[in-house]
């Protein structure tokens, strides 16, 4: 009997090892361990054994059973894993095919530039002021020290609606309005972005509509050196920490002294190239100390308050920064143009 059990075990283990799939393995389980299986058969003959041998044989039979069933379990795990492998192999995909596109648009490049400048100056304590695009002659010119008949009005040929109303030629009237609202009190620290209009024929470098962003600071003891320092922070943030600035004297009716700011040319590192017309410098913006007439007209005591103002064109900055060659691109809105301004820098 003992031998028979050993034989059965050996036979079962052999079959288990050869089982090709789970079904075959289950058949083996039924065949060997089932109620009608050979082990049960063998155990039925236990009655013939002595009382002494009976427990021994019982223990042996259980041992054989356990050995078979644990082997079946092990084999089952093996076969299951193989089945899964097989299934997964069939599920293989081509990971190099393109993914499902996520829809996303982006800012217009001018908005991108304007928001960048806004954020920079907000960080320096400025608020963002806005005003009407159709303005009174008074705010657009007169309050800015440009009385009627002033020759500098020719610098900004304008679209008039009536004799007293026109499309603003710069965002400076927002400054005039803000100062007037503050009724002679400081400090004022604003940045004014917006659309402006001039009588120009549209070509690669001119547009009858364009954008401007201007800044104004008024307080006691504001100095030209504060303007220079502020513009330096701006230029380094906007164009790179390695860029230098220089101020050149210029003329604007609303500032005195007036300056223009150049930044060192990135293309040639300041040695002179075609981008900077050989000068090593690129003109970026106009600025100056607020003219006392402008302060007085807005109700500020020009003996007590001084201020600085600066103004720049986001189009020009975008053209320099991104290498755009034609100002009309900004207003044509070719999707192949707009799409290029999605990446984070």
């Amino acid at each position: 009997m003992q031998e028979r059990l050993k034989e059965l075990q050996a036979e079962a283990l052999d079959k288990i090892a050869q089982a090709a799939d789970l079904k075959e393995l289950n058949d083996i389980r039924v065949a060997f361990l089932g109620k009608k299986g050979p082990i049960t058969e063998v155990l039925k003959g236990m009655g013939k054994l002595s009382a002494e041998e009976r427990p021994k044989m019982g223990a042996l039979a259980n041992e054989v059973r356990d050995a078979i069933s644990s082997q079946i379990e092990a084999r089952q795990t093996e076969l299951e894993a193989a089945a899964v492998e097989l299934k997964l192999a069939a599920e293989k995909i081509d990971v190099t095919l393109p993914g499902r596109p996520v829809k996303a648009g982006n800012h217009h490049p001018l908005t991108r530039i304007i928001e960048e400048i806004e954020d920079l100056f907000i960080g320096m304590g400025y608020t963002v002021a806005e005003g009407p695009e159709v303005e009174q002659d008074y705010y657009n010119f007169e309050a800015l020290n440009l009385p009627k008949g002033h020759p500098a009005r020719d610098m900004q040929d304008s679209f008039y609606i009536t004799e007293e109303i026109l499309l603003r030629t710069h965002t400076s009237p927002v400054q005039a309005r803000t100062m007037e609202k503050r009724q002679g009190k400081g400090p004022v620290k604003i940045i004014c972005p917006g659309k402006v209009y001039r009588r120009d024929n549209d070509d690669a470098t001119h547009s009858h509509q364009f954008t401007q962003i201007e800044g104004l600071v008024i307080d006691e003891n504001i100095r030209l050196s504060d303007l220079k320092g502020t513009l330096d922070v701006f230029a380094k943030k906007m164009f790179g920490a390695d860029r230098e600035i220089r101020l050149r004297p210029s003329f604007f009716p609303f500032t005195e002294p007036s300056v223009e700011m150049d930044i060192s040319c990135k293309m040639c590192g300041g040695h002179g190239c075609s981008t900077c017309k050989g000068t090593g410098w690129i003109e970026i913006l106009g600025a100056g100390m607020v003219h006392p007439n402008v302060l007085e007209m807005a109700g500020y005591d020009s003996k007590r308050y001084t201020g600085f103002a600066f103004g720049m064109g986001p189009e020009r900055i975008a053209m320099l920064k991104y290498g755009i060659d034609d100002i009309r691109h900004f207003y044509t809105n070719d999707i192949r143009f707009l799409k290029q301004f999605s990446v984070t820098e």
Partner: protein, 804 residues
């Protein structure tokens, strides 16, 4: 202003400073030098030749065979095609090996069988602009004066061995519209003296006052009029050096009289006018405002109608010049002129500006008067002019000048303290340093303690207040020397306004949803200005538009966005989604500013989803654009607050357009563009929206308040209702929401069936209803009670039948 580097040296010493260095210095201290032009750049090998022989080319009708002495041992044969070449002329010859503009190299050649050893040149061939070449040489070669030495460098003789600085002058620096003015500027920069010409001329026995009487009626417009008379003038060419200086300065040589007046204009900045004395028709000059309707024929042969705004020079009776702008044809100097009346006058800017603007005439003279000339330079300029007329036009200068002098202009006297200078600039200058700057500028200055008082010469009319003095100090001290500081003082919190923040959120949301931001023009055509206006109002029109296409301000952004789609579709960009935020303009009462409203508009066409290799494509439809807007409203805290209701609008699809209302006010619309519009613009199915951004952003939104996560389960019941096809889902949803009471937390449509299994004119619409009580678990009974109310309500109010 074009400034010849060589000519400038007559007035100021620039030793050791190259033209390029000078340009850099001028730019840094005040006037932008826009370029330095080397006149003979890349040119070589051009000499003065003497035409010894000139005969017709044996084989070519239009060519001449010449023998030219180049100052070498043997004369050379040159074939020349110019019509004006002749024996005896002194000419510019590009010799073999010479290089002309455009890297054109001269080689030995054979022309129709005849050898040619070089080329006789026109001025254009030497790189001079055609418009600067004197008329007599404009169609052929240039001919030097007879006494020109043979063999010398022709380019140098023509004044081309020079450099020209191109000054970009701002309107305040009219003082630099003359060589002397530039000399003062350069003198200040280099700390050098300015050398004035010292005119000397012999005068005839006759007196000018016996020839002419001068009266000025318009004293404000013309504070000073100086007249001189020169007899026995011989009109002819001016000296070559003068012609070349004029050309280098951008002025075409004419004849000696005209050239001398132009030369003085450049040298002194003082416009002059020469009348033919014998053609004046009287012995009198009367300066007055024109009479309404009076006429003058100007030098350009144009008949001009005058008004009382215009200042004229008359012979006592009729106008002989439009003062400061252009002379009259009736008194023009011609080749037979023998007696010249020379006018050197100070006219004020406004009188000249008006005439120059009204008649569209902008001359070198008017430009200077408009910007302001030195009131005190008229006499000196007249003296210098008559000296040159005597020397180069053979004139006899009559004794004295005849003047009408009402001049009151005095130098401005301006004071400023050292402290003010330093506190505006942020510098630490000492008084001697400041004094030195004014001395370099040739401004008189006196110091009293901390205050410096400056007497500003009349040539610098731009300086009137202390800030102007500070600017002079700052620019000559050098902006490079100004330190970099940041404002000190009360700190101010920097931030965006709530509106500005929300506008950024709107942009980011729409971009996240797949729309690109566009920026289009505010000015549009009459036709487009009123299309798609949210509110019908009259558009705002420009008084003088540049073109029909840009003559009015828009009332809506949609027409501009449709143009954007059209532009892109024509370039194979066919799935498009764009939006714009910007102003629209509504006309107000005359005299008032128009009302500006910021709008948000969008336009979408083509495929919305396109996953190509998986074959999944969906076309844009109404619900795509509505979904985007609903998402936007939810983002702004307005979920469920903006109603969509069917609406009809011009230019929009009558069955696929909704009006948006918020708190009972129409704030916008959304829908499909009318197919006839789509067709006319070559668009495919296109959906658009336009919303008043202000209404949207200023609507009170819900304050953000945390809602506890439900602890009790919610229960969902679905119902399918059969209703008339016309019945709007939104209406049913409203009825359900109202009837469901506070236990009903959510209602949404999850199915719509309008297919053939439905009775004619009916549709089935299925809603999912979610019931929930935060305090307890709902019982079947609770829900049945609420749900029955819902079913009754839809039956009664909408005739809905529960679908089996």
């Amino acid at each position: 202003m074009l400034v010849s580097y060589k000519w400038l040296q007559e007035y100021v010493d620039v030793t050791g400073v190259s033209a390029e260095e000078l340009a850099e210095k001028i730019t840094k201290s005040g006037i932008e030098v826009e370029g330095v032009d080397t006149l003979n750049e890349g040119l070589s090998g051009v000499v003065v030749g003497h035409v010894l022989e000139c005969e017709k080319h044996p084989n070519a009708e239009k060519l001449n065979k010449t023998l030219v002495d180049l100052g070498q041992e043997e004369p050379v044969q040159i074939i020349c095609g110019a019509p004006n070449v002749a024996k005896g002329q002194k000419v510019a010859v590009a010799t073999v090996g010479a290089v002309l503009p455009g890297n054109f190299k001269i080689k030995k050649a054979k022309l129709r069988g005849e050898e040619s050893n070089g080329m006789i040149c026109s001025l254009q061939e030497l790189g001079i602009e055609a418009k600067l070449v004197a008329k007599e040489f404009s169609e052929g070669i240039f001919v030097f004066p007879e006494d020109t030495e043979v063999g010398q460098d022709a380019l140098a003789t023509l004044g081309r061995a020079d450099q020209v600085l191109e000054l970009g002058l701002t309107p305040n620096r009219a003082d630099c519209l003359s060589m002397l003015g530039v000399a003062y500027e350069v003198g200040a920069i280099l700390n050098k003296e300015v050398k004035w010409p010292e005119p000397k001329s012999e005068t005839a026995a006759e007196k000018a006052e016996d020839y002419i009487k001068v009266t000025v009626e318009a004293k404000e417009d013309n504070p000073l009029y100086v007249a001189k008379v020169i007899k026995n003038i011989k009109v002819g060419p001016s000296p070559l050096w003068m012609q070349t200086r004029l050309m280098a300065s951008g002025i075409r040589p004419h004849n000696n009289v005209v050239d001398i007046t132009n030369y003085i204009l450049l040298e002194y900045g003082q416009p002059l006018h020469a009348f033919d004395y014998d053609r004046l028709g009287s012995k009198e000059i009367l300066v007055r405002r024109a009479k309404q309707g009076e006429e003058i024929v100007t030098l350009d042969e144009a008949k001009r109608k005058l008004t009382e705004d215009h200042l004229v020079i008359t012979n006592g009776n009729e106008p002989v010049a439009l003062a400061g702008v252009m002379g009259g044809a009736n008194s023009e100097v011609s080749s037979d002129t023998t007696t010249v009346l020379l006018e050197s006058a100070y006219f004020t800017g406004p009188a000249i500006r008006k005439a120059s603007k009204d008649h569209g005439l902008r001359s070198e003279a008017s430009a200077r008067y408009e910007k302001g000339v030195d009131p005190k330079r008229a006499r000196a300029a007249a003296e210098r002019a008559v000296e040159l007329l005597a020397r180069y036009a053979g004139g006899e200068v009559l004794e004295g000048s005849v003047e009408a002098d009402h001049l009151t202009a005095e130098p401005a006297v301006v004071s400023v303290t050292l402290d003010k200078i330093n506190s505006v600039i942020g510098s630490e200058l000492s008084m001697p340093e400041v004094q030195d700057i004014f001395s370099r500028l040739k401004f008189g200055a006196s110091v009293d303690n901390d205050t410096i008082t400056v007497t500003v010469p009349t040539r610098r009319g731009d300086i009137t207040i202390e800030e102007d003095l500070i600017e002079e100090v700052a620019r000559l001290y050098g902006y490079d020397n100004v330190p970099k500081t940041l404002p000190v003082g009360a700190s101010t919190p920097g931030h965006l306004s709530e509106y500005q923040q929300k506008r950024r959120i709107v942009r980011r949301f729409l971009e996240g949803a797949g729309l690109y931001q566009a920026i289009t023009y505010s000015l549009t055509s009459k036709e487009k200005a009123s299309q798609y206006a949210l509110e019908k109002r009259e558009p705002v029109a420009l008084a003088m538009p540049m073109s029909e296409d840009r003559s009015l301000l828009r009332l809506s952004i949609i027409p501009q966005l449709l143009e954007v789609l059209k532009y892109n579709l024509a370039r194979q960009n066919d799935s498009l989604a764009v939006y714009e935020t910007g102003a629209v303009f509504l006309k107000n009462n005359a005299g008032d500013l128009p009302e500006e409203r910021e709008h948000l508009a969008g336009a979408i066409t083509g495929l919305w989803e396109n996953h190509q290799w998986q074959g999944q494509k969906t076309q844009v439809d109404f619900y795509v654009i509505k979904g985007i807007l609903e998402g936007l409203f939810a983002k702004l805290g307005l979920e469920g607050k903006v109603q969509f209701s069917a609406s009809q609008r011009e230019g929009m699809h009558p069955g696929r357009t909704a009006e948006l209302t918020l708190d009972g006010k129409v704030i916008g619309f959304v829908g499909q563009v009318h197919p006839t519009v789509e067709k006319a613009m070559d668009l495919k199915e296109t959906y658009v929206f336009e919303i008043s951004l202000k209404s949207l952003l200023e609507a009170p939104s819900e304050t953000l308040q945390y809602q506890s996560i439900p602890r009790y389960p919610s229960i969902t019941r679905d119902i399918a209702l059969v209703v008339d096809r016309e019945k709007a889902a939104g209406e049913l949803e409203g009825i359900i929401a109202e009837a469901g009471g506070k236990l009903l937390k959510e209602v949404h449509v999850f199915d719509l069936y309008e297919g053939e299994r439905m009775e004619q004119g009916k549709k089935s619409i299925a809603f999912s209803l979610k019931y929930f009580d935060p305090e307890r678990t709902l019982t079947d009974e609770d829900i049945t009670k609420a749900h029955d109310k819902v079913l009754n309500a839809v039956k009664e109010k909408a005739g809905a039948v529960l679908r089996g």
